[in-house]
Structure formats: structure tokens, C-alpha cells
Point group: D2
């Protein structure tokens, strides 16, 4: 078997959640250090993506470093919280210049933290930058604010990478970077080498993309800097456990990554609202190991031949042969 | 012009919100009495639907009564919060019998409150009763729990009505009462006259129903006890302001109600996350008054003739004639 | 291993298709007898569902019988074509009484044919009965026409079963029987024992149902008379090969059937537009045999325990263990 | 009132249709010359988009010219039929090089015809270029074929424009040019000035875009060469009459065009399956004239102020004021 990939997770995977109904939360709050310990308890995780500011945390950065160290974890990324109360009408595209400035300050600070922690990248997720209603915004104006803001931020830190995690919607009804292609257009316009894409499998799926095709597109533009995986019912970002529903398309996604020798982290972005978070991560990784095993077993030559004639049935047969035997050893 | 309908709103319309990202809320918390005062400030509202328990409220019931009175508002309904932390795996269908019992206790208490406030009905919204993953539940077992729990609750209070507000999903990925037809089947099985349906226009719309058809179905079963209105982009329960997107279908929905001489409250269930809540209600009612005016102006005879031959174009012409002139007086 | 189920297919699986763009068809026309021979060539099919009238066929019924016999096939059902040019504004709900009468005549004839061929049921698929535009129809009137027409037809033939195959939409934008629950309400209203439901897995899936739950609902009403399987991307009736996308939910669907000792035909309703139709059927049955094998291997006791506590992760682990090893023998 | 726009239509608007069920068509076939006469009968149409080859037409090109002339119509575009039987697995991306060559031959011929008729552009709609199943194609390979084929075609005809009409799906489950952004990326890669976008409002809508935003994006890239309008229920390309459902978003779309001084044809791409095609066009234009009137009346300054603060409610009020009074004169 080929070497296993590096597994990672967003640290929020190990938190508890609120939503607009369960406003008192799906469980007691879990502190940052405990979240890190839970990530460590999964056993297969090597890296985590940390939100910043550290919400509700009154310890020091050294406490965080120590918690990471004792769990053999590295911070692979910082995700600045530019989607909380101050930014509900946008961060770098907020109609208020003062808020835009405040957002940039936060983003610069988050970037410095990322550098000091040796992160690979800063993750930019513009969940509140967009619109909710017809006629609410001037589309050219808001797009230009996004491009300008990104140029200011990313251009100031040539020593670290930034990724845009695109998403069609939620919490805004429409988000400024909704798809791989639109994000690539924006990145072109920004014009900086250290800005790329984080492709979240679930976002791609419910955004009507074919995730493997979106991955190939980003790779062909030299911009697939990172990925997240999870699953959903194709209508919303359910952030379910990887492999819950779309086994074949998840497999196809990782097949595309391997074919291109893409070697980044296989990172979980799941929201186990009602599940044990450690178990949810273990279950996902169990499936991902089966995927990895199936990739080793896939007859690439035969698949290439099937694809050369667009033979869907032949391809499906080859895929089922390895996917539907992928847990033989794992389950013994 | 015919008499205006009675307008109402869920009291949460005037609160602020949280979601899984803006966990510190879309604005400072608004207390219950202030919510009631805001409802009063709209000017056209006559009734409100109150959640219970009164979250974060340390006043007395008399304080609530007084606030309603000073704003000329009546409590039309109580909506028990059976979707908070204790119930995230279900209320009356929770796998734990102790939680089911606790839910029923809460529901009985809410019902007593509804009676003491002279409400028209208790609203049951089973947002956490359902499932998230394939194979998670035994479908017959969970359905039977729902029917049994409803029978226990509704049968104990023949002196007040109960409504089930159906919804396809959110917060659970799948909710036990997802559609009008499924809810009517459940109500039949419960077998009690004082149990009916609350049809939320937006839920119907994004659940692939035609809201006017769903309303007719409930009416023909004698079960359309109440309605809520709002709008969305047809993929999720966006709870946007009425008339933001689906003007024609909103008009058709109210046309069906009028045709059947349905005379209940025109009630708002909007979530103005980033908007002024009083203004959002005013805007909705402004549109609803235009709808009401257009209903008065509609050539019913010609419409009936068009529908008798399924003539979509003739019907559309008649509808546009009144809808696209409906604000002439309002806007002057 | 337990006995294999009986496999079947709609005979149209082996035809070629047209659509609104490729109006000259996806391939040369395939005559009815050749379609039957192709069904026979699959090797695992025991029954077929035949359209009637036999479009473009100038042979005799005996020719059809002979073709079935030489391929060891039985006609399990007749599907009358009440969705062709004469019926594009509806069959039994057509606004024109003359067309309604013509539709009933056709339906009676199809029923006589079904009886003479020893079919299990007549399949009613009301693809053109519904509406396309807001305000196009009077919803009560069209529903009542459907109920009345069904009563006339089904009541006249107590010696054979009828099934309604529900579908959310296509070709009409909205179809009169769109969901399991709505169809059960209609069947209740018709009030005849020999009228039931045909549940098409794909229709259920893209209609926002959970197919296994819909199956349980129909079973609990004593009305799951037949099923069809296929797959899709959850937004449209793509009629893809079984097991292309939704492996887990297909497995859950058949698990529900087995749990209820449902013993009908596992029937294909696929449209292999661009694929070899015999190969498409073989590929589907290959997957269905793996499903059948996985059902044998599933730890039902452990699954019941997981479901008793709504433990999605434990259930998923049990399911993956059998599904992701299900092709070990098949692929050897 | 400002000058009315130029109205146009795809000539197929005046044909009859088939689909996979009504294989004998929704009505008797309408010949090409009769289609043109029907277009003329609408009264407000100035241009038409013609398919080529002229399916089932045995007259001469002069006959076509004469029919156009007698109806005061001009051919604004040619749409080559690269989606019929020969091309069901793709035209310029077909796996078979011989078919790709044949497609290019057809495309060159169509282009010559377009030039000889004085058309503004050749419309390329790649409905059969894409994939249906996971793992069916190599995404990089198929994309490169599309880019190469476009370069060959468009580069050979610098004297006329070409447009790509993007669409998410249908008839292929996934189409190679599914969105505005993806199409712009492809156009960039082709690198030719005479290649642009045709934005079909309905395709944009059901593709999860905001059509007005997509229009602005194309305009900002200098690539909005043409538009089509129609309407749908947001889940499929229903090609309903303009203004059936999405009145506000249609208005916003045309508002964006006017704001940018875009002066192309307002072109209908409707499929009136069950409606009189002349009446369907008249109804659409009646609504579009109301849109045009509302644009004249809209308080642009106030709207710009509302948008500057992302004030959705203020914007909505301004829009409803003009839209819901837009038929006052028309209906009098």
C-alpha cells in the first residue's frame, strides 16, 4: 500500500454548535484546549486549522502551542473569524469603510499569527460577504471591494499563502465567491501568486459542480492550495461525515488529486451537531483509508481506456470493483 | 375595498438571531418586552405568536400581558421551544423515554399558558424530530412515536386547537412532518378534531409543493388552521420578507384562501437577520395590502374561465393586470 | 446466501430515446420484439413492464407472447401511454371531457390486455396530469377529476391491481401525484383495495423524500404494490444506472423492503440514453446482487441497537462494513 | 418613455416539441416558413435566431430570405444543431476524432451561412458536450478539447462573432460550459476577441447564479455579446414565459443591462409546449414592455443610495413602487 496521506481537521470539528433555533447550543461549550485534546484523541490527525480570535479563550498562545505539542498536532492554517457580529453585512466588502478597515486589521493580525505558528496558509472564508435580496447591492462595486481588499491583504504578506474557500451560500443567501471558476477569476484579477483556492468538497457538490472537475480546474490553474472534505444531501452545506452519502464522488475527487500528484492534507470540515466529535472524525478517517486503499487497487490503465471513449459503464465497473471491496482488510 | 385581514407575526421576528457562524449573534439581544414593543411599533399588527419558555426573561406573565395590552396585541398562539439543547435528538420522538416525557411536560405547560392567554392554538414545530443520516432511525418506530405523543398531548386538551407546522428540513436534515400530505396522514392517524396544520408558505415553496395547492388540500381536509408567510430562493428556508421574490405565487396563495372564504390571520414568519425588524414587517405588510387590493380587483369570472380550460396565458394576463397595478394608490 | 430476488425492467429500458433537442433520437429505433430480445439478453431478467399501445409495432399480440416466451420473460405490468400527444394537457384530468373519456377508454383497454397477459398490475403514471404555471388550474377541481377518474377505472376491474407511480415533475412542471403521502391520500379518497403505489426510487430521491422512509410509509398503509429503481443527481429524474451515485440509500431502501418481508420484483427503470442498454441492465443487476449479498451479511441486531438510540455513526459503520466488502466474491 | 428595445426570439419558439415521453410530439410539426410567419404574427419581433441545418425543410435559402422579408424579420444569429443524433456524446469534445471533425465542418458551414445572412453572431450551445456519470471522462482532456475546438472554429472567422450559451445541464447531466465564470475562463484560454457569452436568464437562475450579477461579470469582461430570457421554477430549464415567476429578478437583470448601457436584443428563448406560441410571445413582450416602463420610472439615485449601504428594504420599496404600477397604462 502506498503511504497514507496526512489527515487534518478544522478545530471547530471538536467544538459544540449553535444555530438559529438551538440558541443555547447543541451541548456545553468545549474550550479551545479541550478541542485540541479531542483532535489528538482521534489518533490519525496530524494537523488542525485554528480559528482566530480564539473565541472565549483566556489562556495564552503558549498554552495553545503546548496543547498542540502534547497531541502531536501542527497548526496548518488560521481561519480568521470575519463572519461574526461585526461583519454580518460583510468584511472586506462591508458597505461601511470603517468595518472594512477593521476587517483588514483583523486579517493582518491573523496572518501574523499564522506565520508565527508556522502555518501553511491563512484561510479566507467570506461567508458574510455577499447579498440576501434582489437589488440589495451593486454587483460591480461589491466585487471590486473584494478584489481590492484581497490585494491589500495578500500583497502585504508575500511570505505566506492565502486561500479563498468558496461556497455558494450560507450564512448570506449569496456569497461573493460561490464557485471554483468565479474564485479563479477573482484570483486572476488580484494578480498575486500566493493567493489560491481551498476546495471544500461539500460546497462544490451542493453548488452544482462536479467536485473532481472543479479540483482539476483549480489544479490546471496552479491554484489548488488546500481541500476540505465532508458530505451533504446536495441541497445545503450539511457538513456530514465523509462517506455518508457520496462514496463514488468522494472517491473520484481523491482519484483526481492522486492523478495530479497533489499531495496536500486530507482535511475534515465536518459539523457533528449531535454526534461524538472524536467518533465522527474516526469514522471519516476509516472511510478515507478505504478510499486510499481503493486508489491503490484501481486499474488506472483500464480506467483511462474507458474514459478515452467516455464509457461510463466500464468506468463504473472498475470503480465498484475496488470501492466495494475496500473494507475487506479494515473490517476483518 | 374589502376589509383588511388581521395581520400577525411570530414574536421572534423582532428578536436578534444567532447561527452556527455568528455565534455571538447578529446584534445585541432584544428582551421579550422590547420585542413586543417593536411588534407594536409596526402599527398594523394585531396578534403575535409567543415562544415559551420566555427565553432569558425574568419578568412575570403579567408583565407580558401588560406589554401586549399597551401595544394592542393579542397572543394568537404559543410555540413551545421543543428544539433547544434538551431536544436536539428529538422531542416526542427522542430515543430516550425520559426526554420524551420531559417534552410532553413542557408541551402540556405551554398549552395551559396558551389557554390562560386566550390563544387560538398551540403551534407544534418538530424541527429536531427526524434524522440526519441514512440508516440512523427505524422509520416506522419514529413515526409511531410522533403519532403516540401527539395523541397524548392533543387528546388531553380538547378545549384548544393544536397545529403542526410542517417543514422539509432544518435543523434536522429530514423532519418527521415534511409536507402537507404527510402531515395530513399523521393527523388522520392521531384521529383528533382539534389537531390541524399550519402552512408556512416558505416551507411549502422550498419543499417542492405549490403553496396554493397545498392550502387547498388542507382546506379540503378541514385542516388549514393557520398560515405563516415569508419568502425564499426555493432551496432553503430563507425566511425573507414577504414579496421579495415570489410575488405571483404569494398572490395565488392568498387567492386560494379567499376563494375558500378562509378568514384566519395573515401572519409573518420572517427572520430579518441584517435588517431593521420593524421596517421588515412594515415592508411585508405594505406588499400584503397590495395583494389584498389586487384580490379585490381580480376578474374572478374570467379567471375561472381560463382555469376551466387550463389556459395559463389567459390566467397570467389577468393576474398581471391586477398585480402590476396594485401599488398605484399605495405609492401615490 | 438467501434466494435472489426476481429482477425485472421496463421494456423502454431497451428502446432508444428522443428528447426536445435530439428530436431524431439517440439512435435508430428499436422495435418492440427486438426490445424484448434485448431484455432476454441480459440474462437475469424474469419479467418486463410493457407500454401500450405498442408504439410503431405492426405485429400481433401473439408475436409479443412468442417473443416473451423465447426469452423466458413474463409481462408483469402494462403501462398505458396516457402521456402522448393526445394527452399533453392531461389524461383523466384533461380540461376537455372528450379527452378524459378517450383516456378512460384507453385505460380500460390496457387493463384488459394486462389481464389477458396475466400481469400483476396496471401501472398508472400521470406525467401529463398537473400544471406548468401559477394560476393555471383550479387545484380542487383537478384533484377531484383525478379521484373520480381513478374510481371509474379501478372500480371496474376488481380482478387486477392498479398502481400509481408518483413523480414530482416532468414532463408537467408539477404532477398531480408528486409524493408517496399525497398519493396515499388520493388512494384513500378513491377507496378501493386494488389501488396502490409504485415507488420509483429516483422519483422519491429527487422529490426530497427519504426513499426508505417512503417505502415504510406505503408498507404501513398496505399499499406498496411495486417498486422501480434507478439513480440520479437528486435534482431531476436522470434515470441513471442503479448504484451510480446513491449506494447507501439504495441499500437502505432494499433493507427496508427486506425488514418488512416485502417480496416483489426488483425492477429497473433506467434510461441509458448513450449507453448499451443490455450492458446498462447487467451493470445494475451486478450492483443489486452485491446489495442482496450485503443484506445477508448485515448485523441486523447491532443495527437495531444503533437505531434504537439514533446512533448514526454506529449504523454507518455497520453498513460500510457490509457494503464496502460486498463485491469480494463478485469481483474475484 | 425611452425607446423600446429590439425584441427577438429563437425560431424554435414557434415550432412544436417532442420529449422523451411525448415522442410523437406536442402537436403537428410546423415547417420552417410557417415558424417564421408565426414569428411575424407576434408583431413586436424584429429578429430571429435560426437553427441550422433547417430540419425537415426542403425549400431553398431564398425561400427563407423571402419569409423573413415578408415578416420584416432579420436573422440575428444561427444556432448550429450540434446536439442531434450524431453528437449525443459530444460535438467538439466527442471521444471520436471523426465526429469532432464532422462537428467542426458543420460549424464552419453554419458560420458561412450566418455571414451570408448578415447575422450578428453564431450561437454555440454545447448541450451534448459534458458527462452523465462519475468517472465517465477525464476532465482535463475534455476541457482541452473544448478549448482547442473553439480556437479552430472561432479563429477561422475573425469577421463574425461567436457566443457560448452556457447551461448547467440538460440534455447531458453536466455540460462543459455550465456557468458564466467557467465560460469566461474558457474564453480567456481560447484567447480570441470575437468569442463571447450569451447569457440565458433561465440557465443562470437555475444554475444558482444571480442573473444580474452574472450579467455584470460578463459585461466587466467585455463579453456579454447576447442574452436570452424566459423563466423557470429554479430547478430546471423550464423555458416558461418571461415574467411567469421571477418578476423582480427579471427586472433586476434588465436594470443591470440598462445601467451599463447594454443595447442588444431582448430575445425570447421560451418553449411553449402546450400553449399557443404566438400568444406566448405576445404575453412575454407585454411583460417586457412593463419592465421597460418600470426602468424609466425607477428612482436611480435613491436606488444607488440604498445599494451604497446594502439596504435591501429601501431598494425593495423603490422597486415595488415602479414594478407594481408598471401595467397601469398597458392595462387601461
Amino acid at each position: 500500500m502506498s503511504d497514507l496521506p496526512v489527515f487534518g481537521a478544522g478545530i471547530w470539528h471538536f467544538a459544540t454548535y449553535k444555530d438559529r433555533y438551538a440558541t443555547n447550543g447543541y451541548g456545553p461549550e468545549v474550550g479551545l484546549l479541550e478541542q485540541i485534546d479531542r483532535a489528538g484523541a482521534v489518533g490519525d490527525l496530524s494537523v488542525v486549522d485554528l480559528n482566530w480570535p480564539f473565541a472565549g479563550f483566556d489562556g495564552t498562545l503558549d498554552d495553545v502551542r503546548a496543547a498542540l505539542a502534547r497531541n502531536n498536532l501542527r497548526a496548518v492554517a488560521i481561519t480568521p473569524e470575519i463572519y461574526n457580529r461585526e461583519y454580518v453585512k460583510g468584511s472586506i466588502t462591508n458597505p461601511d469603510p470603517a468595518v472594512r478597515k477593521q476587517a483588514l486589521t483583523l486579517l493582518h493580525e491573523a496572518t501574523e499569527l499564522a506565520k508565527s505558528l508556522g502555518c501553511d496558509y491563512v484561510k479566507l472564508w467570506f461567508g458574510q460577504d455577499g447579498w440576501d435580496y434582489p437589488f440589495q447591492v451593486d454587483y460591480r462595486a461589491i466585487w471590486n471591494l473584494a478584489v481590492t481588499g484581497l490585494r491589500d491583504l495578500v500583497g502585504a504578506h508575500p511570505d505566506i499563502r492565502f486561500v479563498i474557500e468558496y461556497k455558494p451560500r450560507e450564512p448570506r443567501n449569496r456569497i461573493i465567491f460561490p464557485s471554483a471558476a468565479r474564485t479563479l477569476l477573482g484570483i486572476q484579477q488580484v494578480g498575486l501568486d500566493n493567493l489560491g483556492v481551498l476546495l471544500d468538497f461539500g460546497h462544490s457538490l451542493y453548488g452544482l459542480e462536479t467536485p473532481a472537475d472543479a479540483a482539476q480546474l483549480c489544479i490546471d490553474h496552479g491554484k489548488l492550495f488546500a481541500i476540505d472534505v465532508n458530505d451533504n444531501f446536495r441541497g445545503w452545506d450539511d457538513d456530514m461525515v465523509v462517506g455518508s452519502v457520496h462514496l463514488v464522488e468522494t472517491f473520484e475527487f481523491f482519484h483526481t488529486l492522486r492523478k495530479n500528484n497533489w499531495s496536500g492534507v486530507w482535511q475534515l470540515d465536518q459539523f457533528p451537531f449531535r454526534e461524538d466529535s472524536v467518533e465522527a472524525a474516526k469514522q471519516a478517517i476509516r472511510f478515507l483509508k478505504a478510499v486510499h486503499r481503493a486508489l491503490d487497487a484501481l486499474d488506472e490503465e483500464a480506467l483511462a481506456a474507458a474514459q478515452a471513449s467516455h464509457d461510463a459503464l466500464a468506468a463504473q465497473r472498475l470503480v465498484q470493483r475496488v470501492l466495494l471491496t475496500s473494507m475487506v482488510e479494515l473490517s476483518s
